[in-house]
Every structure is written in structure tokens, then in C-alpha cells.
Amino acid sequence: MAETTTFSNATQILEPFRGVKRVTIEEYFTSGHRTCQGCESALVMKLMVKASGPRTIVLGSTGCMYVANTTYYTTPWVVPWMHTQLGSSGSAALGTAAGLKALMKKGKMKSEPINVIAFCGDGGGADMGLGAISATLTHKEYNSLILLYDNESYANTDIQLSGMTPYGANTTFSPPGKVKRLIHTRWKKNMAGMLAAGHPECRYVATVCASYAVEMMNKVRRALTIGGPTFIHSLDPCPKGWDYDPMLSHELGELAIETGIFPLYEVEDGQVKYYGKTKAIVEGRPRKPVREYLLKQGRFAHFIEEDLAYFQAKVDEMWEKWEIPAVVPFRRLDATKAALSAK
């Protein structure tokens, strides 16, 4: 059984959209979903498949973008879509890509590049599914994109904290009380940096925010074009979970970047490239104080000055102390030596 010579591991070539007016008009995520007013993640879904085009298979792990999107008989997905288990976005991408590859290689299916995208929420991706995503990012012979839509809580199940919930936030698992003002005191995982640093053969990792829609779509297109497994982390303001007026979703996305809390960057073949307003910060534009972002959200309404100061100091540390600012939290060796000699 020789492998057929017609098979190739090629990807679709998806050139970047040069401006919003050049974006294709076709939609592949349309009516039928029932997400909340102001839901940024629904916009991410729409932009994600707009960017990928029709020859795409989407796998969605359990979460808002499953439960709220795919009520039986009212699917918004124009492209083929399938549910996968909460911790299985990595496995879903890998299995789908491997199935297609096997069938095309053996001449059992017409050979063509089909985009495979698996998405997960922060709970499914950064908590439960981290191991499977990590494994998939080492399988360089299978083309796929894993997109993490991060609304910073288990928003589908009643807003419980996840490993991606910001320090101190009020969730149904971390309600502020008279004795304990802050129940949740863990700092958020650095997903994109961790996955880029930990998977040297993964050619493309990026962070995006749908407040910058064209750039977000172009990162998706780059991830699908470059080949092998790729990863995108999208920060998605969530009116219900973050407790703010739904009209502020876009603005909060911008503020997350302008305060430096969420950096926009891509890591392509090991090269870190900042973009958008994050690039301006790297080039010297001052970051906005984190309080401008935090105090617009009810989940931080219980914060006192001490909490705001702690949060600001942690964000300052990301930018001032990290070896690659806001991307890789290692310290320079000379700084370590200095710390040792000071003792």
C-alpha cells in the first residue's frame, strides 16, 4: 500500500485582508445563535470563520460558544461544525486533521487543503484541556488552529473562576465577603507565552482582540496558512461575567490592551512581533493605569486602593522585569546574579 503521490501537506493560502473594505462579505457564522447582548466571543466566532472561508471544519469544545450557539435545529454554523468535550479542543483538532490526512494520503478522499479549527474557552483550554493542546502543538505534521476565546471565567455555567480569571475578580466561586474580600488571589496564566515557549516546533502563536477585527482575522489567516499546529489566544470582554454595560465590550477590549494587561503579539518561527497599540507601548507610549479598565467592571467593584496598587504593580512587572516584556516572564541572568549578591 504505497502512499499516493498526489497527497501534499499543503495549507490554503489566505492572504491578509488589506483593510476593512477588502474583507470578504460572506458569512459562515450567521443567525441562529442566542448569545448575550454585547457578547464579544460570538463576534470572535463570526470573524474566525469569515477569515478561514468555506473549506473549513470547526470543532467547538463545551462552553458558551457551544451551549449558546448550537441549539438543535437553529445552528448558526454554515461550515461543518462539531462539538467536542470540554478538555478536548486539542484532540479534536488533531483527530480531525489526522483523519483527513490519512484519507487523502491513501486516496480515499479527494486531496485538498481543508482548514481545521478547534476552539475552546478559557476553562476548557487553559484549565482542563491544556495537556491535549500541548500535545497537539507538538504534532507538526497535522495542520490545525486552536483558538482560545478567553472571557476569563466559566461563563456558561454561571461565571465561576478559571485559571484565567484575573486576580481578585468577583465570580460565583469567589464572592467577596465581610471576612475575605478576595477569595481568588491567583495570577492569570500566561497562555500564549507558555505555549509559544513550550512548543518549539509550533510555528505560530498569536494573541488577538476582536476590538481590532481586521488584525484579528489576519492572525487567523496567518495561522491557517503557515502549516502545522498553531494557537491563538483571544481576549473577549463578557458583559455578564465582567458585569458592565454591553455597549462597552469594544471599549473594554481596547482598554485591556492600552493598560498593558493584555498584550497583542505574534510569535512566528520563534520571532516575537508586537502589533497594534501594544507595539506603541513597546515603543514608548505610556500605558494607561489599570484602574481605568478595572473600575469599569462590576467584578472589581469591591477593590480597594491596595488591590488596585497590587494589580498595577503586577502589570508593571510584566513590562519592566520580564525578559521579553509581557510575553516571557523569565528574568535576565545578570539581574538574578545581582539579586544573589545583594544577599
Partner: protein, 410 residues
């Protein structure tokens, strides 16, 4: 010097005979079935099949995507998704590894994914134990997996081919687990007839997912939120598929016998010296070996004892089994599993058979035995003891309502 061109070997219809283990026999069938995607993760004893497949792939006999997963959960999810885009898939596990995949195991039947898996039966740690118990595979008995137990390398090879034929039949489209006793079958070699590909191709059609194929040319949405609006109808569809599997299994075995010239007439269970038996013992898997030896010894002494070795547990062959068992004067069900707190503290098989017999016109006294747990050897003495108790129950015309543990320190 004349150039001698060797003649192309004539396509042969001959089987070849190999000395192989149960796991290696399964790997021979997977090669013949030309599987497309296979996922491996190490746990004894099932993993010998993955070692055998890896050699088939590195040796060029099989072209397939061979993925070593990072855990059983992913192992089963990967092939589940590969199957939905049309790939013929294989997977497997043992003991707590199978349990680690449990979430994926329960979603596979309602997705109508005809995955075939090998369960190398193993005790559920803790405490650590590599030996056979059937509780691992039995946990999926209620959720839509087809479940069968095999006894020999030949049966391993034949059943694997039958498994794809049954699972991938559009009337069924359910996952199928082949249970093989750890060590006793997975690691034990026996002479096995391996058929040529040409015969297999006449028996096993291509996997065709039809209108359920996940592909841009067939842009369906799979497994949406159905909730109370639809879930009960979907459950009933699963149940109907399981019921249809009865016919499909019988067709497959009949066709197997036609193409390969071997295989049982009765797919559901093997009957050994049951025609005139007063006492019939029932068990699954390789436990048949000590039981058959004991039966021959007992027959030499004039005791009429027989064995029913159950092959198929799901679908459960209720009517046929009742017909075969109700003619005996006493039944002894030997479970290599347990079900703590169950009726009479019996094993799973004993209580299934009790339930199956409930509406029968004739219900022989039924004794329940548990033995061989954790891979402990089942001895002839264990079997003799069971037969003695059954003989007494036959004479009394009734059985005690308890479960006897055999070969256990008191």
C-alpha cells in the same frame, strides 16, 4: 547469462498460519482492515496491540496515522474525531486507563461513531494489579457500546474483522469494544490462521459515513444542544440501533463463515458439552480453559456438566441464552467481576442472567460465583467446588440466595 524474471506471486487464497498472541492477532486484522487512524497510550496489558501495530506501520505493511496521545482521554477523542471525517479507526485501553477515557467513551455512541476498541481486561487499581477483571469493559454496558469477549488468538483475529463489519453497518453505527483477558489472551501465543487480504475485501466493505460525514461538502452541525426537546428521542434511536445490531451480527457471522470457511454458527455464545448437561456453568473469556478441563474430568466420572461461554454481552442474547440455559437442572454463573451492593452481591453477569430468566417458563436454580479477580488463576478445584454446589442445588431444586467467592482466603 539469461535474465530470469521471477514470476509475480499468484494471488493466493490460502491462509497462513502464525504463532501469535491475542494482541498480535488483532493487529493482523487491523492491517487487513486497512485502518486509517490509530491512537496509542501505554498501559498493560492491552498496549501490546499498539506495539504490534507500530511494527506493522514501520515495516510498511500498514499505512495509517499512528498517534501516541498524551493520555487515554485524548486517545479516544482523537479517533472519535477522525472517524467523523470518514476514517476507519482503532483504539484501546485497560483498567484505569479505560476509566480515564470514560467521558469520551460515553459520548461516542450517541455520536454514532463506529470506533473499534480493544480492552485488555485488567483490574481497577488501587491496589496495583495487572491481572484480569472484567469490570473495566463492563462499565460501558449501559451507554451504547457493543461489547464482546474473546477466548483465543483466532477468535481475536476473526472478531476484529467482524467488529468493523458490524459497527460500521449503517443500521448500527455504534462503537464496539472487544474484551480480551489480560495476559491470558493478550500475551499468550497460539497458532492462528491469518487470511489473505482478498478474502477480507470480500467480507469487509469500505467505511462509508454517508450523510453523517463531517466535510465542507456536507456542512452539517454535529452534537448541538438538544436538551429535553430531543434527548429522549436520540436515546431511543441509540436503543433501536442496538436492537438492530442483533440481526447485523448474525448476518456478519454467517457471511464470515461463507468467506473464510470457519467461525461459529451461533455468534452469541459457545456451548461446550451442554446437550445433556444437568449443570451448566456460564463464564466469559479465557476462564473457559480451566472450566473445560474440569468438565472433561467430571464427565469421566459420570457427572453431566457443560459450559456456556458468553461471547456477546451487548447486545445481550436474551432469548437464545434463556433457551440454552433453562433446560439445565442448575446453573452456575462464574463472574470475573464484581458489583458491590448489587442484588445478592452477585457479579454483573449473574444478575444479567437472573434478569433474563425472570420471565422464562422454566427457571433452574441459579448459583452465583465470583473468582479469578485480579488475575488470580482459576483452578480445577474452584470449578469442582462450583459444580458440587450446583449439583446440590439441582437435587434440592432451589438455590441459596448468596454469592460464593471461589479461591479466596477466608
Amino acid at each position: 547469462m539469461a535474465v530470469v524474471t521471477p514470476a509475480a506471486p499468484a494471488a493466493t487464497e490460502e491462509d497462513k498460519e502464525l504463532l501469535i498472541s491475542g494482541s498480535e492477532a488483532v493487529a493482523e486484522s487491523l492491517t487487513l482492515a486497512d485502518i486509517d487512524v490509530v491512537t496509542a497510550y501505554p498501559i498493560r496489558p492491552y498496549d501490546t496491540v499498539m506495539q504490534a501495530i507500530a511494527k506493522k506501520i514501520s515495516g510498511g505493511q500498514l499505512v495509517a496515522e499512528y498517534i501516541v496521545a498524551e493520555g487515554e482521554h485524548s486517545q479516544f477523542e482523537i479517533v472519535k474525531h477522525a472517524s467523523t471525517v470518514g476514517a476507519r479507526v482503532f483504539c484501546g485501553s485497560s483498567g484505569v486507563g479505560w476509566m480515564y477515557a470514560m467521558e469520551c467513551l460515553v459520548v461516542t455512541p450517541p455520536l454514532r461513531v463506529p470506533m473499534v476498541a480493544l480492552v485488555g481486561n485488567r483490574a481497577l487499581d488501587d491496589p496495583g494489579a495487572f491481572g484480569v477483571e472484567h469490570n473495566d469493559a463492563l462499565v460501558v454496558r449501559d451507554v451504547g457500546w457493543l461489547l464482546c469477549w474473546i477466548d483465543t488468538s483466532q477468535e481475536a483475529l476473526d472478531t476484529t474483522l467482524i467488529a468493523y463489519r458490524v459497527a460500521e453497518d449503517r443500521r448500527v453505527f455504534l462503537p464496539l469494544a472487544i474484551s480480551a483477558d489480560g495476559a491470558f489472551l493478550t500475551h499468550s501465543q497460539a497458532l492462528t490462521m491469518v487470511p489473505p487480504k482478498s478474502k477480507v475485501d470480500r467480507f469487509l466493505p469500505r467505511y462509508d459515513r454517508g450523510d453523517l460525514l463531517l466535510h465542507p461538502d456536507n456542512p452539517i452541525t454535529v452534537a448541538p444542544q438538544a436538551n429535553e426537546d430531543w434527548v429522549i428521542e436520540i436515546r431511543r434511536q441509540n436503543n433501536e440501533a442496538m436492537a438492530r445490531a442483533v440481526t447485523v451480527i448474525e448476518e456478519a457471522y454467517a457471511d464470515f463463515r461463507r468467506v473464510f470457511g470457519r467461525g461459529p454458527e451461533n455468534p452469541w455464545f459457545e456451548e461446550y458439552m451442554t446437550d445433556d448437561a444437568d449443570v451448566i456453568l456460564v463464564g466469559m473469556g479465557t476462564i473457559s480453559l480451566p472450566i473445560k478441563v474440569a468438565i472433561r474430568e467430571l464427565r469421566a466420572k459420570g457427572k453431566k456438566v457443560g459450559l456456556v461461554r458468553l461471547r456477546w454481552f451487548r447486545p445481550f442474547p436474551t432469548e437464545k441464552l434463556v433457551a440454552a440455559l433453562s433446560k439445565a437442572k442448575a446453573l452456575g454463573i462464574i463472574d470475573r467481576d464484581y458489583s458491590f451492593g448489587s442484588p445478592f452481591g452477585s457479579g454483573v453477569v449473574a444478575n444479567e442472567i437472573r434478569a433474563a430468566l425472570y420471565n422464562a417458563d422454566r427457571r433452574p436454580p441459579l448459583l452465583s460465583f465470583i473468582c479469578g479477580l485480579g488475575g488470580r488463576e482459576v483452578t480445577l478445584e474452584d470449578v469442582y467446588k462450583a459444580v458440587d454446589l450446583c449439583t446440590a442445588a439441582a437435587a434440592a431444586g432451589k438455590s441459596d440466595a448468596k454469592t460464593h467467592w471461589l479461591g479466596v482466603r477466608e
